[in-house]
Amino acid sequence: MTSLKLPALLTLAFLLPVAGRAAEPIKIGVISEAQAVAGASIAPAAQLAAEEINAKGGIDGRPVEIVAYDDHSSASDAVRAFQRAVNEDHVQAVVASYVTEIALALQPWADRLKTVTITPGAASDLIPEAIAKDYAHNRYYFQGFPTSSAVAHMVCDSAKDLLVKHLGMQTAVIMSEDAAWTLPLDATYESCLPPAGLKPLDHIRFSKDTTDFTPIFNRIEALKPDVIITGVSHVGVQPTVQWKNQQVPLPMYGRSSQAINPVFWKDTDGGAQGVIMQAFAAPDVALSPKTIPFAEAYRRKYGAFPAETGYTAYDAIHYIADAVHRAAGATDADTLAAALEKTDYEGALGRIQFLPPGDPHAHALRVGPGFVQGVMMQWQDGKQVTVWPASLANGEMRFPSYIVTKR
């Protein structure tokens, strides 16, 4: 009897750790500002993705666990949260912040604490450029959101079709907030607008603390451009409402991150009417077969559609899980980063691939037809109508009566 029991017990003793590891969760830290519209969708979308993965049996039997932290959009709070996530909560990967300044503060920490980190919303080209410049020290960092220059190129491409060819516009003034993400955005606007057919007459950068936009609109109007090309994210409601209240007779067109959020109409009390904004995701635009199901699932669970960063955070959890699966369950930073570099995943945003090491934008999302593509939308009577590209458009541009457009 004893001779039979011993080998059985020994076998069990060897098997137990394996069985225990099989059920051990994959922990992913999610750092964002819960009180900002853009940040508020990140953790809930990540949680939704984790629940979907777990409902299908987890990652090869291991459940995904989301550990959420609020950074109040403060770099120091974000760094502290990152340290706690890695050192105390022992997460295997981190999805953190939509603010470029915070993403840049976290970038060296991904290397110091050897943890794969993905930003679901920080757009500055500085992030992938730093990875390309010093790959050895930044290889654990991935940009899960298209770069500012990609945003600007899409605005220029669409402006060529919608503003130049369709409305006969020739001149523009660039109006953008003073932030790290707008530096490459503005530089690209300056270079891509003229070939698109729009001559920039001036370039106004304003402080994120600006509350009264009257002097800015006044200065722009005095230059008599055909359109205002925007680059705003931290601000949005105030310039839009003042543009409407003052009946500034120029269309606003470009990147306006807050305007992408479905609550923007309410926040501006309808002042958004006519605003045209670039977006990488919208609840009713099928950028991939997963876009609308995700938006609907989010609305069912949380009562409202997600912000754009919700789509990117949702995708990030899924492609991290995909990478862990491809790495046969390995979660050490080197193996996971190597697996993420080979990502080819169809997410809610489109087909997700990262640019390879050696590319000047290493670890940035591949953008273009067949990958992450995006759309131009316009607020019309409380709805976001897709006006570009033609293949996804579900309406045409319409402007409030005080807007003067050439034809």
Partner: protein, 291 residues
């Protein structure tokens, strides 16, 4: 045309600043309280008006009224829950009360600020204007609601003047600001005067907040700058002096507007701060200060 634009914008901004600072200085004049939750009260009133309109589907006037009600309710709550317990506490020495009240109102303001951010996010909100459209005045396009904002600010300041100078309660308030002991000796219940002043203050802060929400929009981030702005204006005008605050509000309003138009909007707050520092050197009690 630029001059006219500066004159009009500066007038509207100055009127808003004057209204916001008037309540702030009134409270200091009567009860010696520097209420550092001032900006939070203004933003709460604006956020409530926004929520009443968007979530409650109320009209512009009704939602503005909700905003004013929240302003008054929060001002009275500030007095009852924060200021009065400290003023009456035997555990706090008389000479330390001011610093306790400063700290308590600052924390109370942060509490309100965080509550607003939690309920409505930290994104800016705008209150629906009472009237829409624009008016052309000598080639300058002015939103009609901006003109109405300036008129309403002055109307409220005018009503306040009438209340203080023509009504029994108002005169008692004025007397209390000059000599509170004398008021008690005359048989007037000082605590009732304080409640009245805090209610009037709440109304002023509420009106200023709702109008600011219509004119420029506010967010939970506006709390600190609004308190700092009212504080600077009141110190510049002379603590406790309503007329000094109105003068200072216009000085700051026009300086900011001129800087924004003639130099850059990015530097609009700098000259006003330099003016404040200069006045502090040359005339530490402010333009019309009594203390």
């Amino acid at each position: 045309m630029l001059v006219l634009q500066i004159l009009i914008d500066g007038f509207a901004i100055g009127a808003l600043y004057a209204l916001g600072a008037t309540g702030f200085t009134l409270i200091f004049g009567v009860s010696g309280v520097l209420n550092l939750s001032h900006g939070a009260l203004m933003v709460a009133a604006a956020a409530a008006a926004w929520a009443a309109h968007t979530e409650g589907a109320m009209g512009s006037l009704a939602s503005a009224a909700i905003g004013l009600t929240v302003g008054v309710a929060l001002a009275l709550a500030t007095f009852r829950l924060v200021v009065r317990p400290i003023q009456r506490s035997p555990a706090i020495r008389a000479e330390e009360r001011e610093i306790f009240i400063l700290t308590a109102t600052l924390l109370w303001g942060i509490l309100i600020q965080e509550a607003i951010a939690s309920l409505f996010t930290s994104n800016a909100k705008t209150v629906p204007p009472l009237i829409g459209g624009v008016t052309l005045l000598f080639g300058v396009r002015i939103p009609r609601n901006e003109i109405l904002t300036a008129i309403l600010c002055w109307a409220v300041i005018g009503i306040l003047w009438l209340w203080v100078n023509r009504t029994r309660t108002g005169k008692a308030v004025l007397a209390a600001s000059m000599n509170s002991r004398g008021v008690i000796l005359l048989g007037i219940d000082l605590s009732r005067i304080h409640v009245a002043v805090w209610a009037v203050y709440g109304l002023l802060a509420g009106v200023a907040g709702v109008l600011l929400g219509m004119f420029l929009g506010v967010s939970s981030y506006s709390v600190g700058p609004l308190t700092a702005s009212a504080f600077s204006i009141v110190v510049l005008g002379g603590l406790g002096s309503v007329y000094g605050s109105i003068m200072a509000a216009y000085a700051v309003g026009y300086l900011e507007t001129m800087t924004a138009y003639l130099v850059s909007p990015a530097y609009r707050f700098i000259p006003a701060l330099l003016l404040l520092v200069t006045v502090m050197y040359v005339r530490p009690h402010g333009l019309l200060g009594r203390r």
